[in-house]
Symmetry: C2
Subunit: 333 residues, 2 copies
């Protein structure tokens, strides 16, 4: 009899999530059916968007159910198999439950090659994270060499990749992050032209004007809120804003208010466009191919913050909202 | 010696413009030079966007100068000519000063045919107004038959045309306006499916949900502010908002705040795009051709509010912000 530990949603957070919103349970593993595999979790992805699924507001994916396991991107090893094409010892990537072990349908799992890249990279630059940065920047940002790209949440998982792609494509790239260490890393490790620490900068509008002497053409927005207000004052005619996330206001309990964007958009013939990575599913293979090539050529760095142990998953998730990660936050089970 | 009266910008409005922000002067007409024509104004267009040019905030067109004439779309008759291709008695359309008579360069003037349509229509459905509705809806809204279009400022110059085009293209069209008479006219004259009087409706979010049972796919936004907030709660996945203007907040003296749009855009993979009609200048001939065809076929109605007399121009402009116009507001000089 195989048992597993599971992390469940105990309560819907009011405002900022807490450890008490999660609980752990132990249960038996059900027997393998045809087309299923038994998996052992190796790396679990924690992502800001999961906050949305913890509330019961309708969104692009249904909310998590109370008392049921949370789900995110997971890299796992196949322990047993009753599915064609999957062998014991294979590594797979999929949207899986927060469990040490689990039985899953083989459909929807993708094999990953531990020889081609570190396993955790398949949650980062070679996974949804990398694709989110790539699809948002390419499909909505439509970047042109010589333009100026601003990235908020720039030291985070998606932001650090979006900014690096901007550099590869020949843009001036300015990143916004929340510590001096992160700002330094943006420049030294990711090749950004400039970085701004929003926590120590009094006037973000002026700081952006200084860092972007030719104005802002493309804004990769991971945060929303006040930082995005300051960007508005610096956008160029025909600027494109990629609305990837709004981490700064995910935990608000009231609807947040901001300076009205409409007059800025009209004055500058500017656009804002939200998206999720699945909107461009038909282009994912092309995206992964390009990201893997850049990774192999050393043009793209996969930076991670790795926490250790299954029990660390909830805290790792909470840490996202404190900006404690640099690059992709994953938990090694 | 020919003299003319002129309307000048006396002071930059603080908040809502007043008659005292304008003054009248009388001056001599300068002598015609080669390539110039002497014009007599027949119809003067007053438009909400002129409010922006009365402030000295940088925008897509430079601000009006203090003590200098205001400028807008004008239909005029050629009284004298030293320009090839322009004859005495021709009617022209151009961006001209608020003067009874004026000398103007012939470049930039377009001849209009009083036999093909009433002269004032060249400021309305066959002018910048019609083109603004057409370009915004077609290029940004990308409407598809069966979708739902919501138009704010629906009884106004641009809104009434945008909504009618929506009906021609087979969309469900819901208009928002500020009196019961306007709402009635949206349905009876312009063929809208539903109309909402925002001044007498307590809960706009619910009213929109009721009027748009399949959600909102395209939003032609002329007003910004609270009405546009209510729209956000009803947008569909992949909805497109056309940011044409923000008349509800043009007169604000402080930067207006609204519910943050970012989370809505992310959740719905939705877009907002500002524009001005000149962004699509290469497509204007095609647009005018289509608008003229619809007008001729009786599919499109050119509705106007016409004020009489040169002296009435400033008050006609102020009336725009009270919603006193239905359709295009013009002054017959």
């Amino acid at each position: 009899m195989i048992t597993t530990r599971t992390i469940n949603l105990k309560s819907r957070p009011k405002g900022k999530p807490e450890l008490a919103d999660f609980d752990f349970s132990t249960s038996e593993i059900t027997e393998l059916q045809e087309g299923e595999v038994l998996l052992s979790s190796k790396y679990v992805s924690v992502d800001p968007y999961l906050r949305g699924r913890m509330s019961d507001t309708p969104s692009y994916i249904p909310p998590f159910e109370l008392g049921k396991p949370l789900v995110s991107g997971v890299i796992a090893e196949v322990l047993e198999t009753k599915a064609k094409n999957f062998n014991k010892g294979d590594f797979v990537s999929g949207m899986l439950q927060w469990k040490e072990k689990q039985v899953a349908k083989a459909d929807g799992l993708v094999k990953v090659d531990p020889a081609a890249a570190p396993l955790s990279a398949y949650l980062g630059v070679l996974g949804m994270t990398g694709l989110t940065a790539y699809m948002g920047l390419m499909e909505i940002g439509k970047p042109k060499a010589g333009e100026t790209l601003v990235v908020s949440g720039a030291a985070g998982a998606v932001g650090s990749i979006a900014g690096q792609i901007g550099k590869i494509l020949g843009l001036r790239v300015v990143g916004i992050a929340g510590t001096d260490e992160k700002v330094e890393m943006l420049k030294s490790e990711f090749g950004f032209d400039e970085g701004i620490n929003y926590k120590t900068t009094k006037n973000m509008t002026e700081a952006l004007a200084k860092a972007c002497p030719n104005g802002i053409d493309v804004y990769f927005d991971n945060v929303g809120g006040e930082i995005s207000e300051a960007v508005l004052f610096n956008i160029n005619k025909f600027s494109r804003t990629i609305n990837c996330g709004s981490i700064s206001i995910y935990n608000n309990t009231e609807l947040p208010k901001s300076i009205s964007v409409q007059p800025f958009l009209v004055r500058k013939s500017a656009s804002m466009q939200g998206f999720i990575v699945f909107d461009y599913a038909d282009k994912h293979p092309e995206g992964i191919k390009q990201l893997a090539a850049w990774l192999q050529q050393g043009k793209l760095h996969n930076t991670e913050t790795i926490k250790e142990g299954f029990d660390a998953i909830p805290q790792a998730f909470l840490d996202l909202f404190e900006g404690k990660n640099t690059g992709k936050m994953v938990v090694k089970v």
